[in-house]
Symmetry: C2
Subunit: 627 residues, 2 copies
């Protein structure tokens, strides 16, 4: 096979690939973190590169013609997922086409956690073996645990056993013994060391959050987050699922490996920051949606690939960290919380777990908007759940100038109702490069309240406004002029962007509505927003758009990363794991696509604001807003 | 570091080693299976080689002067464990200095085993997932096991879970499910495949026996044995123990690795012979003495290294085969039987397990002579056990012309009482190369009954016999003249050889005697001999030597490899494992070295035959024998 050489700019890197290789795969192989929201299907257009010296390439595809302006095509711009190279070439990867590392959100917790950890540390001072007392080492230890602490332990991790005979003798039989679930010995330490840490991991489709918990003190000592490295295989769970099912076992191995590697990188970062040794991390709780959960546990997700979309494993699970390749103590267990249904995963269980003490009366609506949306309705005695395909619009995908909530993203937008002039706030106070989810919600809500967009979501064409411009067949609204931006190009909101947001918000609304109907048509007492998206949006603007049904503005409360909090709770307190297992079985999952009313509710919910639901309060808010 | 080149004859192999390297280690590194009974301590003299072209070597040591005749020293013979080389050299390794691969013993079992295996195969035909039945895959399987078979399973091996979603769907939810202990799912197979095999492994210090059991039929389908590859680190357990404790973790890794590699080689051989796939081996039971057991489970045996010699782990144990690196089904468990005491191991438990139905009245004496000797006295209600250091004389070590029971070994000896002429039988009907354990017992017993050796074990010097020759200070008896042998050298029994056998047999006798005393001075109703040694010796000759106390000749029964049979029983029937766990705790271990009477009994037992115990029957046998 012929090899060709590719010069990569601006990296100053040379790679050698087989002639005819797909460029996206070649770039990934060279560890260039190229963005690809659609997983290489030629849909998102985010993986655009410019071929500088014209090596011989494959023909321009239909997808490229649709997504790349003619002028750019002529100057060598191509979608890396759709182009193959047959000759040496030089390639320029623009900043916009790279995955962004800096991520906002998933903040540290400052809570005191209730402590009843799965691992306990017991002090032992044991009599030495003698001719009158020839018990085996481990009988001696087990008898000691029983005698001094009343714990009947009957097993030991084989790795823990390997060199214990030496350790026990060196320490004169005065040691600390770490016991998991009062069942299994998983560690010996000197008697002056009873440190013990755990990790709570929230594996989001986009962002992975990790909390290191001191299991002696019940405090989060440090935390961190990374972009889920699986993003390179697709922005949303469906794309990743399809990637795996297309590639088979190799696909699962790839997605599992990048995830575990990413987690290990984050573990190394947190342990070195906090000066905790890997061996002191003796417990782990992980949550995530079903696809994250399955790829984390190395479960081939075929059951999720077609209707009726059931999980393969729904119960909570214990597995040795070393079986997963997770770089904590080799003898530690990892616990995954249970799953409710095919697309309502362990992360949602963690959300409910964290809110459980608040769910006494109600009913309550819990909305968790990540890359996928999950909604729960009810109270402690009865809970309904559903999954709604919001699409990635709120994450900046499927939006012309959309981007993640990182440096250079417009995060807040205000339109003067008289002058129709725009003010905006950019993350990092710099020139904008695009717009993120909270900015998009602001922009569309403001376009509506400014009379530039009607209730059906269409731009009002006869409105006289220099920012409202025709582009081809449809209109777009200029948020930032080209001279204001970092890219020297205008940042706009297009008709198509508005449609994407309408589809997303209608999915949430309609899903919520159906759960409410099923429950018995009671209005929610409180709406809890979970997830970092919920904590960054302007709730009033989301309300105006018609994202949530039947609720006064003051009853909508954003609670932050509840999935992470729930994972921390289950880590610190093993009773919470039982609680989670119990209620996960009780939550009644409603498959929205199987309901007859979904279509109708969804179409109704597309309007801005929601038509059937316009309350007096909303009228008042709108009036205030305009005045 | 300077490198030198060594030419190895008769292998025609060249090796490159560091100047100054120890030759034994260099030969081992080159995979030359050099014999070393003492583990490189310069005691056994078995690793002798001849340095042909005189490379510069380290000085001749005291050990070499003692063990190598002057003439040989002059012609370049050296102990490879004691010599280092500093210049290129050519070396000849004689046949006698190589480990022998062909092993006699550990024969196949032809018994029908009672079946209640730890792994069961359940047939399932499950309803397909639908919108009305959205249980997870594994809930569906568990519900099916409960509904159709009444088994409440609550866990699954993570590896078994990985691709089950695909398998279940491909097979239309008609599958066989393998469940371990009615607790954990460890395999899925197509519904027409319910094959299931297990391995019983008897890890002897010298020989490893392996039995492949069909767990559907309760039959041994094939079996095999190898020389325990740990032999290269020392012939007996004490030498290997010292090797590990000297080398630390590296030593344990080495001994564990060669053992597991050896077992895997044997597994490959048995599976290919019987056309069974590795994945069909779903259960394993392993037994062995405490040092074998600990190195098998990768337990650092420090607790066995000094008084009071306790095991680190005495209870029975379950461990995943993959954690040990054993090449059976990845999800299979390995069960090790419990241990009684520091030097009465799981092999002895297996021996007792196999005899248990016979131990109703009694009392009985069970003697298991391997490289180490274990004795048990009592009946089902009360059992005493002890370990006696027989030394490796019965295995052919510490005997001038001793060798293992393999091709070329004299295995039977007869001396004509009148002519004092010798007839012998050689394994393989070939020219003899040495003498093995059963031959040595015959020879010494015959020397005694022929009046050539007195009751104290000394050659009777004034006896006129051309075969009785003085060699240096002491006598030796020629069994085979140089023209009869394969080595062209005489095969003799030396005074020192007789002493070694006396020490060994006295240890067994004295140990048995002390157990009998402790029990309440009852004579054994039956003596059971376990182990392949027991099945190859001439029992009458052993009786004449005074190996067993207080028993008529007809009450001594050789039962073959009872440790292997016990392991097979525990493999086929999981209730046997519980039984073993129970009685292992009840067996009272007697530490012989801690008893005041051992020294006296031992000294008394050195005589041929045993003095205090000479019965009328013995007198009669001796008379018959001489006449």
């Amino acid at each position: 096979m012929k090899k060709i050489t590719i010069n990569l700019f601006p990296f100053g890197k040379k790679i050698h690939i087989k002639s005819g290789s797909n460029l996206l795969e070649a770039l990934r192989g060279a560890n260039i973190p190229i963005a690809s929201y659609c997983g290489g299907q030629g849909i998102c257009g985010k993986c655009k590169v410019r071929i500088l010296e014209n090596g011989r390439t494959s023909k321009i595809t239909e997808e490229e013609e649709r997504l790349i302006p003619e002028k750019e095509l002529k100057s060598g711009h191509r979608l890396s997922c759709k182009v193959s190279l047959f000759k040496d070439a030089s390639i320029f990867v623009p900043l916009e086409s790279l995955q962004q590392e800096t991520i906002k959100g998933k903040e540290t917790l400052e809570v005191k956690l209730p402590l009843f950890p799965a691992v306990k540390c017991y002090k032992l001072s044991l009599p030495l073996p003698s001719l009158d007392d020839m018990r085996s080492d481990l009988e001696r230890v087990n008898d000691g645990l029983k005698f001094f602490h009343g714990v009947a332990v009957n097993s030991i991790d084989p790795l823990c056993m390997s060199y214990a005979s030496k350790f026990l003798r060196e320490k004169g039989w005065n040691v600390n013994v770490y016991v998991w679930m009062d069942k299994e010995i998983i560690g010996f330490k000197p008697k002056d060391n009873d440190e013990m840490y755990g990790l709570a991991i929230d594996i989001g489709t986009t962002t992975i959050g990790m909390y290191m918990v001191d299991l002696k003190q019940g405090e989060v000592v440090t935390s961190g987050s990374i972009l889920n490295p699986q993003v390179k295989f697709g922005e949303d769970v469906i794309t990743r699922l399809n990637y795996i099912l297309k590639k088979g076992k190799k696909g699962l191995r790839e997605l599992n490996k990048v995830l575990i590697d990413g987690l290990n990188g984050l573990i190394r970062k947190l342990t070195s920051e906090s000066n905790v040794s890997r061996d002191e991390i003796l417990d782990v709780v992980a949550v995530g949606n079903t696809v994250m959960h399955h790829t984390f546990l190395n479960i081939y997700p075929l059951s999720l690939g077609s209707s009726p979309f059931v999980p393969h494993l729904a119960n909570s699970f214990y597995i040795k960290a070393r079986e997963l390749g997770l770089e904590v103590a080799k003898t530690a267990y990892v616990h995954t919380l249970p799953i409710e249904a095919g697309f309502v995963g362990a992360d949602n269980v963690a959300v409910i777990l964290s809110l459980l003490p608040h769910l006494v009366n109600g009913p309550y609506l819990i909305v968790d908007i990540g890359t996928n949306g999950e909604i729960v309705f009810g109270n402690i005695n009865r809970l309904l759940s559903a999954s709604c395909a919001t699409g990635p619009a709120f994450e900046g995908a499927n939006i012309k100038h959309g981007m993640r909530a990182h440096l250079g993203a417009i995060e807040k937008v205000k339109i003067d109702k008289k002058t129709l002039d725009v003010t905006y706030k950019v993350i990092g106070n710099m020139k904008p490069r695009g717009i993120c989810g909270s900015g998009i919600i602001d922009a569309i809500s403001e376009l509506f309240t400014s009379g530039l967009v009607d209730s059906s979501g269409r731009f009002i064409e006869n409105k006289s406004c220099e920012r409202l411009k025709k582009n081809g067949d449809s209109y777009e609204f200029v948020l930032a002029w080209s001279n204001e931006t970092a890219t020297k190009k205008e940042i706009t909101i297009t008709q198509r962007d508005i449609r994407s947001v309408q589809l997303a918000k209608a999915a949430i609304y309609a899903g919520s509505k159906i759960l409410i109907n099923r429950y018995g048509d009671k209005k929610p007492e409180t709406i809890y927003l979970a997830g970092s998206f919920g904590s960054h949006i302007n709730i009033k603007n989301a309300y105006i758009l018609g994202m949530f049904p039947f609720s006064g503005l003051n009853n909508i409360i954003s609670k932050g990363n509840l999935a992470g909090i729930g994972a921390c709770l289950a880590l610190a307190d093993r009773k919470k794991r039982e609680e989670a297992e119990e209620f996960a079985k009780k939550v009644k999952y409603v498959e929205l696509s199987a309901t007859s009313e979904f279509q109708k509710e969804f179409l109704d919910a597309l309007y801005i604001p929601h038509r059937c639901d316009s309350s007096e309060e909303l009228e008042k808010i709108l009036k205030e807003d305009i005045s």
